[in-house]
Structure formats: C-alpha cells, structure tokens
C-alpha cells in the first residue's frame, strides 16, 4: 500500500518537458530517496507534490486523495511537509514562533476569538506552544527557543526547520538535500534523526540528496530521475548495479558505480 502515488506526471515550462510521464510511489512507512543528476527535475517533482507547480497531466494522490487541484496550503493540511535546500526560517521570529507557525491549519480559534483573546483561544495558544516545544525537543533543540531563529548556527537552523515541518503533523515529510552544508558529525545525527522521525512518529520520508553515502545507508527504496524521466526504482543494492543509472550519472558505460 503506497502512501504517495504519482502516475504519468508531466510538467512542461514553455514547451520543454521538465517531467515526462513520471510514475512514482512512496510505500507507507518507508524512507525513500529520490536521486538523479543536476537538472533532472527532482526539485520540480517536489514542487508538484506540494502543489506549487501544476502538472499538465497525471495524477498525484496521498493515501488515495487526489491532490492535483489542491493549493499548497491544502496539501499541507492533508499531511505533507517539506524542507528546503537552503534553510528558509522566518526572519524576525523566534525559534519557538517559527515552529508554532507550523500548526496554523490546526488552529480552530477564529480571528474574532484571537482579537478578543477568549479563554478558548488562550488554551489553544498553550497547546500550540506545547506541541512546538515537543517538536523542538524531538529534533534535539532544547534551548535558545526565544532566540531569533536566523541567528542560530546553521546546523541548528536545519533542525529547527525540520521541527517546524513536524509541527504541521505530516504523514509524509519531503526533505530537499537535508545534509547540504552539514559536517560529518552533523550528518550522522541527521541520519539518526530521520530514522527516529519515521520510527517514532510514523512519518514517511522522501528525500532528495546528493550525498550518495548517506542515501545508500538511509534509504529503503531509491528512485532515480534523469532528464524528467524515472529511469530506475529499487533497493540501494539494485540501484548501485543498475546499468541505466550508471550511464545517467557518468554519461558512459562503466563496470560499476562507485557510490
């Protein structure tokens, strides 16, 4: 049973095809990686899943619900969260406020309640704060919550971003190059964190990553995209020995891909 199911997704910009009939799925409970050379269309695929790009053809379903017509905030409400290649925390907001903002779609109090600060609204604020604190603790940020988020060290900012994504209570978490710019120690912690997110919070993970070592260790399934076409899908072992993948990466035939 797959949580995310893409069928024949085709996306073109000004006549040139960025994604060409992409079939792709994320099985429930799995950590899946999406790899491919630069310009293969990986980030475009993420943008289609989150509703920012509208594919001309195809279907994108989360647990059987068609999402093609949904706006980005509705996709988030359905249970998909994402982080970016370059950290994009909200400036001029504290760490805690950043993570609290992730729970917007789960807010029940209306604007009027908020303006009048009714008791129900205050209670909800306390709940939102509690959830944010829990998410921050989960990713290992246990202090500095009142600091302006963008003043934290880079590695911490990445974790805050993951905490903020978790605060939206996703069923599927998309991570766009989560290891970029991290030290090797931080990468180890990231691998551990991603596994814990899946195991303890029951969140499926789909990541784009160029660090192939990390991809091989972490992924249970790998899909390979090249020039907008899905050229391979399988376990890390199968992908490592797949001839088409090797050609895509190296442009020539090789005996083995030294991933």
């Amino acid at each position: 049973m797959s949580l995310l199911e893409l069928k024949g997704v085709t996306l073109s910009f000004a006549g040139s095809k960025v994604l060409d009939g992409v079939d792709f799925s994320v099985p429930a409970g799995h950590i899946v990686s999406l790899i491919g050379p630069n310009g293969a269309g990986k980030t475009s695929l993420f943008n289609c899943i989150t509703g920012f790009y509208k594919p001309q053809q195809g279907s994108i379903q989360l647990a059987g619900t068609e999402m093609l017509k949904l706006k980005p905030h509705q996709v988030t409400q359905l249970g998909i969260a994402r982080t970016f290649q370059n950290v994009r925390l909200f400036r001029e907001m504290t760490v805690l406020e950043n993570v609290m903002s992730g729970q917007h779609s789960r807010t029940r109090a209306g604007v009027i309640d908020a303006i009048l600060r009714l008791p129900s609204q205050r209670r909800e604020e306390a709940e939102i704060r509690q959830v944010a604190e829990e998410c921050l603790s989960f990713v290992g940020i246990i202090e500095g919550w009142e600091r302006e988020a963008t003043t934290l060290p880079y590695g911490w900012q990445r974790r805050v971003e993951i905490a903020r994504a978790l605060a939206t209570k996703p069923r599927l978490l998309l991570l766009d190059e989560p290891a970029a710019g991290l030290t090797s120690g931080e990468k180890e912690e990231l691998i551990d964190l991603i596994r814990r997110i899946r195991n303890e919070r029951d969140v499926c993970i789909l990541l784009i990553e160029h660090d192939t070592g990390l991809v091989m260790r972490l992924s249970e399934r790998i899909s390979v995209l090249d020039h907008g076409v899905m050229i391979a899908e399988g376990t890390p072992k199968e992908i490592q020995s797949n001839q088409r993948v090797i050609e895509a990466y190296l442009g020539v035939e090789e005996d083995a891909l030294d991933l």
């Binding site: 706006k71 909200f90 907001m93 729970q103 917007h104």
Partner: protein
C-alpha cells in the same frame, strides 16, 4: 503662558495628533508588510471611515444620543464596514495585480484613491458635512493645562486599539501567520497558511483602524470633507517611514513622533502653524536620506 505651559500644551496636542497618525500609519505598514504595496488609497479609507461613522451615527443618534456612546457604536460599525471595503478593494483591484510589476500596482492604488475621493466628492458635492456628534466640553485642569475628556477618550481608544493589535500580532496564531506571510509567502503556504486569507485579514484590520481614526476625527473636529484623507494619508505614510515601514511598533512610534514634531515644530521661532506640513515632509526627506529603513525597520535582506 510660561515656557512650561507651552511645552505641556504642545505635548498634549502632539499626542492627540500622533494618535490619529499612528492609527492610520498602522494600516499602511501592515499592508506594506504582507504585500509590499504602498497602499496610497489608505488615507481615503480614513475619510470613508469618517463618513461611515457619520452615516451610522445619524441613524443611531435618536436612540443612543450624539454623545460618546453613540459615537463609540458608530465607530465600531464604521470599522467593520470599512474593514470589508478594504478587503473588497484588495480582492478587486490589488489581488489580480500582485504578480505585476511594482509600479503597476502603485498606479492602481492611486486610481483607487481617486475613485474613493471623487466618489465622495460627487456624493457630498464638495461640501463640508457636520459629523453630528455632541461630545461636551468637560475636562480636567492640571495647573494651566486643560485636558478635555474628549482628548483623553480619544487617546485612550487609540492606545487600546494599538495594544490589541500588538497582542494580536505577537501572541496569536493569526499574528504569526501574518508575520510568516510577510517574510516568505511560499514557506507560509507550506505551513498550511492560507496566504490569501491572511492578506484579506490584514486589509480588514488595517482599514478598520483607519476607519476608527476617521470616525474619531469626525467626532472630535466636528466635520467631514471628501479631501480629508489625502493629507493624513501622506502624513501616515511619513509616520510609517519614520518608524520603519513594515514594522508595527515602528508605525506607532512614528505616528507619535510626527505628531509631537509637528506640534512642537510650529512653536519654533519663525515657524508658524502654516509651516506644519513643510515641517513634517522635510522630516520625511531627512529620514529617507539618513536612515531609509526608519527607526525600527530592519534592512531588507537579499536572499541568495
């Protein structure tokens, strides 16, 4: 009058004037924050708010009286009506333009301003309209300083509205959504925030504050005029720039500072009250030259 009396008197005048400026400046700065638009029609919403308050009061005065009770209820209803007007303006005139070049939308804003102004000119035939409130002349005397109850209520209401706004923006989920939208709209969408709804709320709140100022000004000064929004719109813009456009505390501070500068500035030797506007717009130019980001504004960070 001693120097001290002049000082306290001008301080009071400055605070009253500054309250009006601040309320209008808040809408300017909030709208700029979320859609990066200088809403030059904002001053007209102050004017329309004054007329809306007048209209409601003329219906309610027989029941509630023309005193502060009637004015307060009229003000609240005017705020709601003009709040919705602001949302309609945003949806009809600005929303389709948001991805157009900045200059196009600025011209749209000027057009909206002219539509509202000339619409009211036609309706009122260019006449001054008496607001119809009767607020009384009571007050308290502190030494040589006379503070009217009207001034106290006016400043008090403005302070309460601003405090409520500050709490709304800093302590509620909608306020956080508003700040998130102003920083990064796409990221806000990924947080499940309905960006269009947040923009709508922002226009509603900003327009309602302008209407509050317009109704209070009508009640306080006694009459309304179709052109009354023009100058205060520019002054509020100046106040927002002084405080740092986009910053809510900045707009409050900027409004107060501008009000005080004007009331004290006119007391300087050789600077009569006819120089008031020259004075405030010179301040605008000086701020733009020496601290373009304003007192509380932060420099815009370019994203790589």
């Amino acid at each position: 009058m001693s120097i001290f009396d002049i000082f306290t008197n001008q301080l009071l005048n400055g605070i009253v004037l500054g309250s009006f400026y601040a309320l209008v400046a808040l809408g300017y700065t909030m709208v700029f924050g979320v859609v990066k638009l200088l809403n030059f029609a904002h001053g007209e919403l102050y004017m329309v708010g004054g007329f809306a308050g007048f209209l409601v009061l003329s219906f309610l005065a027989p029941y509630l009286g023309p005193g502060w009770l009637g004015v307060a209820v009229s003000m609240v209803l005017a705020m709601i009506a003009v709040g919705f007007l602001g949302v309609v303006i945003e949806r009809v005139a600005y929303a389709p333009m948001l991805s157009a070049p900045r200059l196009s939308i600025l011209i749209t804003a000027l057009a909206v301003s002219l539509v509202l102004q000339n619409g009211m000119l036609t309706l009122t035939k260019g006449q001054y309209v008496p607001f119809g409130a009767a607020l009384g002349f009571g007050g308290i005397k502190l030494g040589n300083l006379f503070i009217s109850y009207n001034q106290m209520i006016l400043v008090g209401v403005a302070a309460v509205l601003m405090l409520a706004l500050e709490l709304f923006v800093s302590r509620t989920q909608y306020g956080r959504a508003m700040r998130a939208v102003s920083v990064d709209k796409d990221m806000a969408r990924l947080m499940g925030i309905n960006v269009n709804a947040v923009i709508g709320i922002t226009f509603f709140v900003g327009s309602a504050l302008a209407a509050a100022a317009g109704s209070m000004a009508g009640a306080y000064y006694g009459s309304l005029w179709y052109f009354m929004g023009f100058l205060i719109g520019l002054k509020a813009f100046t106040a927002a720039v002084i405080g740092g456009i986009g910053s809510i505390p900045g707009a409050m501070l900027g409004g107060l500072i501008l009000g005080l500068l004007e009331s004290f500035g006119t007391q300087l030797p050789g600077v009569g009250s006819e120089w008031k506007d020259v004075f405030s717009f010179s301040v605008l130019i000086l701020v733009l030259v020496f601290k373009p980001t304003g007192l509380l504004g932060k420099p815009e960070q370019e994203r790589m």
